[in-house]
Symmetry: C4
C-alpha cells in the first residue's frame, strides 16, 4: 500500500486556496480547521490513507472501525474557493512526512491551488493570556501582504524551524510555485491539551484573510463537541505509544505534533 | 524480496468468508483459529512471506528450519466456504502491517471474499472469569446482524483502537467492500500467556456465526498440544527481542501482539 | 542505491556448493570461511554492496578506504566446485537481511547452486572445552545424510531459531529448491571475541563434507593473521554503534552477529 | 518524494574536481567549504532535496521558510574547475546516506568529475593546538601524490572508519573510477562547536592542492558571520532531536556529524 488519495467527489474549484489544520501542538490548527468546516458546512471530497500512519483502526462510539486518514473539504467562496485539509494524524516516520506532503501538494496543484495557509500552535512553555499569531512565509515578497493582518513576523520570536506537515507543505508548496503562509497561535504547549484561545486567534486572522463571515461565538461550544473525538485520537496516540512500546518501550515510535 | 503469497493449491470457493487468527494478546485469536483448523481438518492452500517479519528461521524439534510465515487454510461449508488465516507472526514495522494486510485483502478479494472476521484478545489487566466477546464492525449497518449473537458492542467498554492485523484487515476490507467483524475475547493480557477461556468464548460465537458443528470439548487438550509450538514462537519472539537487543538493547524492535 | 552484486570474473562452475561464513557469534563462521579461502587459495569473483550496511567506509592500515562489502570466492574441486561467501558485515535492518539474502540466493541459483552450507556459532554462555557441531537443515530428508558426519541434530539442544544470514539463506534456499545445512560451533558467545576452537570443529566437518584436503595445523596462526582485520571490523562495529548513538544513544542501530 | 537534484543553471566545466564540506564533527568541513565559496565568489548551480532529511523547514531571520537542502557551487579555475558541495544537513537514516551519496556521485560523474576531496573533522577528544591534517584515499596509488602536501597518512593515527557522506562519497566515487581523498582536521570534537583552527589547517592544504589564491586572513571573521546560520542549524539539529523525542525521547533519530 502506498500513500493514496481517494477522491469521493470530482469538484472544479475557482482559484482555490488550501488551508491545512492537522493534529499538532495544542491541537490549535486542527480545532481552527474543524470549526471552519462546521460553520461553513463544508463538504468532504477526498481522503488520504498512508502506510506511514500508525497500524491501527479507530473505533467510533458505536463500535464502527475506520482507518486513520486525512480529509479534504471544499467551500465555494466569492473571493476564491477554499479547500481545508484536516485529519486524524500525521506520519509516524520522517520519510513518511515527505511522501505524504508531496502527495498532498501534487494533488492540490492539479486542482489549481496557487496559495496555501498552514495552521499550527507555537509552544511557549508558559501560560499565554493574549496569544499572538506568529507567521512564516515561503517567499520574502509575501511578508508585506500579510503584515497588515496583525501576524507577527518579528525577529524577536525564537522560531528556528517548523516541524511536520505545517512546515513541509510550506516548503514543498514553494517548489510548486505556491505562495505559502504558516500561522501559529501561541499556546502553552502541553501535550494532549487543546487550546481554544490560540485557535480563536488563528480564526480571526483567517476570517479576514479569506474574506468570509463566520460566527465566532460558538468556538468554545464546538470545541467541547469536538473534544470527544479529539480526546479519543489524543488518547489513542498516547495509548498506542504505550501499547507499541511493550515489550521494548517503543522508543522507535515517532509522533510529531 | 517483497511480501509474497505463494499459492500451494488453486481452489475455487463458494461465498468464502475470511477468518483471521494471528498471534496477539493472549494468543486468543491464534488458538481459536488453530482449533477450527484442527477440528474441521482444513487444508492449507497458500503461504505468505514478508521482509517485514523478523530476519530468522524457526527450528522444529527435528532441527528442520522453516521461514516465518502466515498460512491460509480452506474448508468447504454449506452456509459458505471458510478461509482461515493464521501464522507465526505479524509485521515488526508499522509500514509492514499496511503492506501485508493490503496483500491479504487483495488476495482474498480475488477469491471472492465479501465478509471477514478477525479474532483477537482484549486485555483487561485483571483476571476474567466469564470473558465477554467484544465486537467491532467496519459498517454501522452490520451491528444489528451481529448483536443477536451475544457480541458486546456496548459503549461502556473502553476500546478506542484495534492495533495490528485484526484492526487493519477490518479497515482495509471495508475499502474493498467487505463486511468486517472483529471479535475479541476478554483476557488478562499477560504477555506470552495463552488464554483458553477467551478462545473458547470466541469459538462459541464463531460456531453459531458460521453454521458449523465443532466438538468443543477438546479445546483444552488441543491447546496443550499446540502449546509446544505456541510456546516456541512466543519464546522466539521474546528471545529474539533480547538477542537483537545486544549490544544496544534492541529498542528498535517492534512487536505488536 | 540498491543491494548490488558486482561480478569481477565470469566463472562457470560444476555442481557448485555455497558456503556462507559472515560475521556473527564468536566470528566462528567467518574465521572458518577465511581459513578455507586462504588454504585453498580461492579467487574472488564477485562483491555485494548494500544500503543496508552501516553508512561508512573502512580504512586499511595504509589509509586506503573501502566500502563495506560481502565477497564471493570460488574453488574448482573434484567432488563439486565450491563458492565461499564471506564479508565485513551483515545488514543493520531486518528488511535488509531479507533483501540481501534474496539477492544472494538468486545470484548463486543462476550459477547452478543446489546445495548450501551456512556456518555460525552457537552461544552457550559458558566455557566450552570440546565444542560440538550443532546442525539444522531445511529439509527433513537431509538429516540422514549429515548425521553420519558427527553433526548433532539431537533434540536436547535448545536452539529455537537461527537469526540473520545463516538462518535466512537456509530458509530462502529451500524456497529455491536448494538443500541447506547450517552448522554451528559451540562457543562461549562473548561479543567481539573470536573463537578458534569452535571454528576448528566446523572445519573438520567441512573437510569431510566437501571431500577436500586442508592442512588444519595453521588455523591458530591464520586466525592471528586475520585477527588484525577481524579486530578492526569488530571494533568498527562497536565503535560505530557508539558513534551513531550520540547524541541519542543509538538505540536504532541493529547488529545481528 | 525521492532524493532529487534540482539544476538551477546548466554549466559546462573543465576537468572539474568535487569538494564536499557538509555538516559534521566540529563543522570543520562545512566551514572550510563555506569560506572557499565566499572567497571565490562561487555560484550555486544545483540543489539536492531528500526525504531522508529531517521533516521540517528552516526559518531565516526574516521568517522565510526553506527546505533543508544540500547545495552545489562552481568556480572556473585554470588548473581545473571546482565544484563545492555543502548544505544544511546529512541523511538521518543509514539507507538515506547510501541513496544521497549515490545520487551525488552519479550527478557529478555526468559532469565529468574524476577527482573528489571530502572534508571532515577528526575528533581527538582533547584540546588540539596545532591540528594535523589526517588523510585517507580510495586508491593506494594516490598516497604518493598527496603525501607531499603535508597530509598525515601515518599508521599511528587510530582511524578505522569514516562515517557519513565524507566516507561514502570516497568509497562510491572509487566505484565510479574517481580518485578520492578525504582530509580531516584534528579537532576536540565537542558536539555543536565550530573549530576554526581545524578548518584553517584544511584550507591551507586545499589552496596548495587546487592551485588557487585565497586570502586566508578573513577566516575567523567569516566564521563569525557564518556562525549565525551555523548556530541556527546546529541548534535546529539539537532542538529537533529534543522535539522529536517527545513523548518517547526520540531515540530513533540519527544524526551523523
Amino acid at each position: 500500500m502506498e500513500t493514496t488519495i481517494k477522491v469521493l467527489e470530482k469538484v472544479k474549484l475557482k482559484k482555490p486556496i488550501l488551508i491545512e489544520g492537522l493534529p499538532g501542538i495544542g491541537n490549535v490548527g486542527r480545532v481552527a480547521a474543524g470549526y471552519l468546516i462546521n460553520e461553513l458546512k463544508m463538504k468532504k471530497f477526498a481522503e488520504l490513507y498512508s502506510p506511514h500512519f500508525l497500524p491501527l483502526v479507530l473505533l467510533q462510539n458505536d463500535s464502527v472501525a475506520s482507518m486513520l486518514k486525512c480529509e479534504f473539504y471544499y467551500h465555494k467562496n466569492r473571493k476564491g474557493d477554499i479547500i481545508i485539509l484536516t485529519g486524524d494524524t500525521q506520519s509516524i516516520s520522517p520519510e513518511g512526512h515527505y511522501e505524504i506532503c508531496t502527495k498532498i501538494i501534487e494533488f492540490v496543484s492539479k486542482m489549481g491551488v496557487k496559495e496555501l495557509i498552514t495552521l499550527g500552535g507555537f509552544a511557549e512553555g508558559k501560560k499565554i493570556d493574549n496569544p499572538r499569531v506568529i507567521g512564516a512565509v515561503n517567499d520574502k515578497k509575501l511578508l508585506k501582504k500579510y503584515e497588515k493582518l496583525g501576524i507577527d513576523f518579528g525577529k524577536e520570536h525564537p522560531i528556528g524551524t517548523i516541524v511536520g506537515a505545517s512546515g513541509l507543505l510550506l516548503g514543498l508548496g514553494g517548489m510548486y510555485n505556491m505562495n505559502g503562509l504558516c500561522i501559529m497561535g501561541e499556546t502553552f504547549g502541553l501535550p494532549l491539551v487543546t487550546d481554544p484561545k490560540a485557535a480563536d486567534s488563528l480564526l480571526h486572522v483567517l476570517v479576514k484573510l479569506l474574506g468570509i463571515k463566520v460566527d465566532m461565538s460558538k468556538l468554545e461550544k464546538t470545541i467541547k463537541e469536538m473534544e470527544d473525538r479529539i480526546e479519543k485520537t489524543d488518547k489513542i496516540h498516547k495509548k498506542v505509544l504505550q501499547q507499541l512500546s511493550e515489550p521494548k518501550k517503543g522508543e522507535d515510535i515517532k509522533y510529531i505534533g
